[in-house]
Symmetry: C2
Subunit: 307 residues, 2 copies
Amino acid sequence: MAITVVGSVAYDTIETPAGKRERCLGGAATYFSLAASYFTDVRVIAVVGEDFGRRQEAVFEGRKIDTRGIEHTAGKSFFWDGSYLENLNEAKTHNTELNVFASFEPKIPEAYRDSEFLFLANIDPVLQRRVRDAMPDVKLVAGDTMNYWIKDHRPALLEVLKGLDILLINDTETRMLAGNSNLMQAARGVMELGPKTLVVKHGEYGATLFHGATAKSERSETLRAPAMLLEEVVDPTGAGDSFAGGFFGYIASQPELTPAVFRRAMYYGSVMGSFTCERFGTERLQQLSREEIDARFNLLIRLTHLD
Amino acid sequence: MAITVVGSVAYDTIETPAGKRERCLGGAATYFSLAASYFTDVRVIAVVGEDFGRRQEAVFEGRKIDTRGIEHTAGKSFFWDGSYLENLNEAKTHNTELNVFASFEPKIPEAYRDSEFLFLANIDPVLQRRVRDAMPDVKLVAGDTMNYWIKDHRPALLEVLKGLDILLINDTETRMLAGNSNLMQAARGVMELGPKTLVVKHGEYGATLFHGATAKSERSETLRAPAMLLEEVVDPTGAGDSFAGGFFGYIASQPELTPAVFRRAMYYGSVMGSFTCERFGTERLQQLSREEIDARFNLLIRLTHLD
């Protein structure tokens, strides 16, 4: 069933120990869409400038992603310049230009209205809430956020959290949002703010699912999925958004939303995040096959499972 | 089958967000022995001062650990004073007094000679090698080390590594030892130095087993065991040594050393590390039951396994 995603479509200049790429296609909504497109139909809401042309459009079309919600406007697309030279786990931002994103007013195409799944990628919580309110009939809403919104836009973010079924954030964001340094306690604190399910991403160590586990005794409803061990991490940009795309895409592809589906989704999230790291930008995500994805899913199962 | 362990038996003064304890029983050999004692017979080689009395002796006796190799000498026992006030993942050392440990000359009791398993806890590699050479007939040798020996005592450490079957160290130590920032490549580099099996400990994220996987294609011989999610980490001191004790203790208890045994051992290691964190010092490790251990083993399986 179709997912609508709202978020950034951008250009990234990225430097890692493996090399440098200038202005490659990026943005949270791009990584999310590509990853989710291997599981289900995806529809994007975003804004781009005049520098977004046929070549970029083709990346989405190549994966049959609906781009009618990508608004083209005068000016330049969102641009990010960052590097991972000292630490592959943490980007150093050299420059961020919001450009056309500064005045983004998400518009939902009529054709997107019957989407049953909604993903609110990391953007201003005021916009996240507007999109969520405009699509009241969706079956499941997931979202992401970041330290900046947690610290400086807390009231708006809290409104978004109330309307979320699933929140996907990292360790630091979880602890910051709950004001608690113990991960389990912090996870409970975050779930008390709205989301019934929380996915905490641990970068190279995988991710933990807290699924409806608001009481102490429900510890068994947690799942830790490992991250793949990679021969070379070429570029970690977008790995978290790709995780979200694999996770939510798999969920949207299933007939029933059982705890078992959420658990398997964690492994699919980890699979998609690992592929992204193997090449610069979205290169790897553009040319996968479902066979490759399932083969890696099985490798990842073997990486943690006994017998 | 019996394990002989050589390492430190010490007093620790520990401060964490949960409180402070003065001069509690600690040391790598202590944590290792207690953890391993739930699986097999353990024999300790260490040195203590006049401050080590009946109460400390009783901790070992309570777990039927053979202490005939603990040498009592004039002076004070090894003492460490540290805190984890800002970060539970990393100790801040305030004071280290080697005391009687400074002139430690490990002596192996005759009764220990038929041990089939040997664990070289984190001490001067010159001493590790001496013990290893004095017990040439053991079936399996495992060991630990730390950044200090890797950086400043490399030649002596390299000699130890040649005689090790299993090395257990953390991420930073693995990368430092191999001079490679990619974990997979670093693991291969470390295994080329001797150990056929490497266990890389990731603290709160669990640990990864590299078992005979020296070739690229043998990726499936790796296993990632998660760490337990704990309601409260009271004191992480000794968690790594307890992991080693659970891991090696389980292996020593098995009739055959198959890959499946090594994989299960990773989960037992994680179980024992998690118990240690629940109380100060060795408090929790002194009073476990095999039932509690297996119950947690099953919880940990459930934490990663699908279906």
